[in-house]
Amino acid sequence: MTVLTIKDLNVTFSTEGGDLRALRDVSFEVPERRIVGIVGESGCGKSTLINAILGLLADNGRIDGGSILFEGQELTALSAPKMRDLRGQRISTVFQDPMGALNPVLSVGRQMQNIQYRSGLSRAEKDARSVDMLRLVRIPDPEHAWARYPHEFSGGMKQRIAIAMALMMEPALLIADEPTTALDATLEVATIELLQDLQQQIGCSVLFISHHLGVIAELCDDVVVMYAGEVVERGTTRQVFNTPRHPYSIRLLECDPARQAERTRNLPTIPGEIPDLRRRPQGCIFANRCDRKVAACDELPPDVAVGDGQVARCILAEAV
């Protein structure tokens, strides 16, 4: 069973300089009870993808083609009120800055009560659940923490409270957008382990967006590699990290200083820049920076299945 199936999704923004192809033929799945990581650098379309799923594209953006299937429902055809009902109940989100999710003038407990407005529980039951949830995310002394305000917590605790609130309604899908990026390393690993635990207990799926390869490797079951609005490679974390097939994935992994076991003063890089998506080049999106480019790369590459679920958008995927 898959919770979320995205098929050939295309998103375009109309800008002053012309139409910008923000996502081109994006396809991947989030299976039940799995953590899928999306990795990519700035300009790869991660945020557009999330906004498209949540029905929150900016006014100048439009979905022109493809489908987003969530629990059997086609989200691209869903009305705004229905989409709103879905958000926060069946699909919830955690962002880099926890204060985006927390209202500074309401106590944590009050906010957790508000989230449960559709649960039909009595106030006492709601509060008991809130306290349980805070305990679950390891907030010390949850009975008292419940009555406190967001600013009284440290950054790491605020993020854990945001996670508690996101998981309160036991959603089918949690979208976590760089939730650990603003945290220090010691808090980052603690938050990752917490997410992993909670996901198993609640049994939801997670779509985890990060630019941090180490975090993705540690947390995720599957990985989707994005570059300039396209999914260039996807597969299980082991497949992508151990035997990457798309030249961009290969180079990206090489660039991480953590992958360089030998101490070196000459770190690998990917020279060049992502193409202007208002004037998308004809062929492969990575061709202008690719060191394996051949003549055939001037044509759009197909998604090549290289074995057991691993797919790379590169004509050389099998040879690599």
């Binding site: 650098e41 700035s42 390891r138 440290s154 790491g156 605790m157 220090d184 390393a185 010691t186 808090l187 980052e188 690993v189 603690a190 990752i192 382990e193 630019h211 941090h212 390869l213 180490g214 975090v215 993705i216 490797a217 540690e218 974390t237 082991r238 990290f241 151990n242 180079r251 990206l252 992994l253 660039c255 991480d256 200083p257 953590a258 992958r259 360089q260 101490r263 070196t264 003063r265 000459n266 770190l267 690998p268 890089t269 990917i270 020279p271 820049e273």
Partner: protein, 336 residues
């Protein structure tokens, strides 16, 4: 190449530096120690890394060394001269020799100035008249690998990596002897951060620069720094050769930091030292060893007596019970 402590030719020598901040209202004024007595030296051509989590005082320390932050005691000696006692005017010539790069690649560039004016501003500030500014612009841009026509761009027209290159060009414009780089890879993509680090390293080799790099990214430190210091609550808990520290961290905090670094390898077995509890507030420094509240190895002595500095070869460790190589915590307390 590591001339250790007492290397006679240190370009920067910091002794027992303290920085205090005044906080609170008039009625409840309190001083907090942002940097609580730190000593280190940097040799010519050497890269020294300051590592620590947010709030550890590493940026404050860098600013204090650069004279942007008043110090409350201790000394800073640069190229043989005390510079912490200098006023703004006497500090000016020092600023030609020691330049600083700030965290935000775009935000540290004045938004209404063109790249050409930005990279040559040091010449104008220091009244260097005998140069052709246009030629200097071309020279500096090519030095950092940017096309000459970038001189006409404004900072908002640059990507993070390009803006960082402009920052580097400006920092080396007047041939300094030392650069302090505060999080030089912050805000950069992985594929670009290598470019910047390689560039800095290349310039270091070509110009014989000494460098102080402040970062929280341990993987970066491993590749670029000769020596490193780990900061916790405004103090150095461990100082020494980078390679050696990575091989065998002797301070429990260093060990925890190193083990907390997520690695991009799905098959890696994680043998983590989890730190319970959160970082204490600077307003309520724990007694004894300030790390004892989170230390898995803490013993009763640790909560009462501040540790003396233990020296092991080139290593300095602020711990009562420095770790032996490969030590594991006695028993994992309830993980954080």
């Amino acid at each position: 190449m590591h001339i250790g402590r007492g290397g006679m030719s240190a370009i920067l020598d910091v002794r027992d530096l303290r920085v205090t901040f005044r906080v609170g209202s008039i009625t409840q004024r309190r001083d907090i120690l942002g940097v609580a007595g730190v000593s280190f030296e940097v040799n010519p051509g050497e890269t020294f890394a300051l590592v620590g989590e947010s709030g550890s005082g590493k940026t404050t320390l860098a600013r204090a060394v650069n004279g942007l932050q008043e110090i409350s005691s201790g000394s800073v000696t640069f190229e043989g001269n005390r510079i912490d006692t200098l006023d703004t005017r006497s500090m000016k010539p020092v600023r030609r020799r020691m330049s600083m790069m700030f965290q935000d690649p775009v935000g540290s560039l004045s938004p209404r100035m063109k790249v050409g004016d930005l990279v040559t501003e040091p010449f104008r500030i220091h009244g260097v008249a005998d140069v052709n500014l246009r030629e200097e612009t071309r020279r500096l841009l090519s030095l950092v690998g940017l096309p000459a026509d970038f001189a006409e761009r404004y900072p908002h027209q640059l990507s993070g990596g390009q803006a960082r290159r402009v920052g580097v060009a400006r920092a080396v414009a007047l041939n300094p002897a030392m650069i302090i780089a505060d999080e030089p890879t912050a805000g950069l993509d992985v594929s670009v951060q290598g470019e910047v680090l390689n560039l800095l390293n290349d310039l270091r080799e070509r110009m014989g620069l000494a460098m102080v790099i402040i970062t929280h990214n341990l993987h970066v430190v491993h590749h670029v720094a000769d020596r490193m210091a780990v900061m916790y609550l405004g103090r150095f808990v461990e100082t020494g050769d980078t390679e050696e520290i990575f091989q065998a961290p002797a301070h429990p905090y260093t060990a925890a930091l190193l083990s907390a670094n997520p690695e991009p390898d799905p098959d890696k077995a994680h043998d983590r030292i989890m730190l319970p509890a959160e970082v204490p507030s600077l307003l309520a420094r724990p007694p004894g060893c300030e790390f004892h509240t989170r230390c898995p190895w803490a013993q009763s002595k640790c909560s009462t007596e501040p540790p003396a500095i233990v020296e092991r070869d080139e290593r300095r460790i602020a711990c009562h019970f420095p770790l032996d190589p490969g030590a594991r915590p006695p028993e994992q307390k309830g993980a954080a």
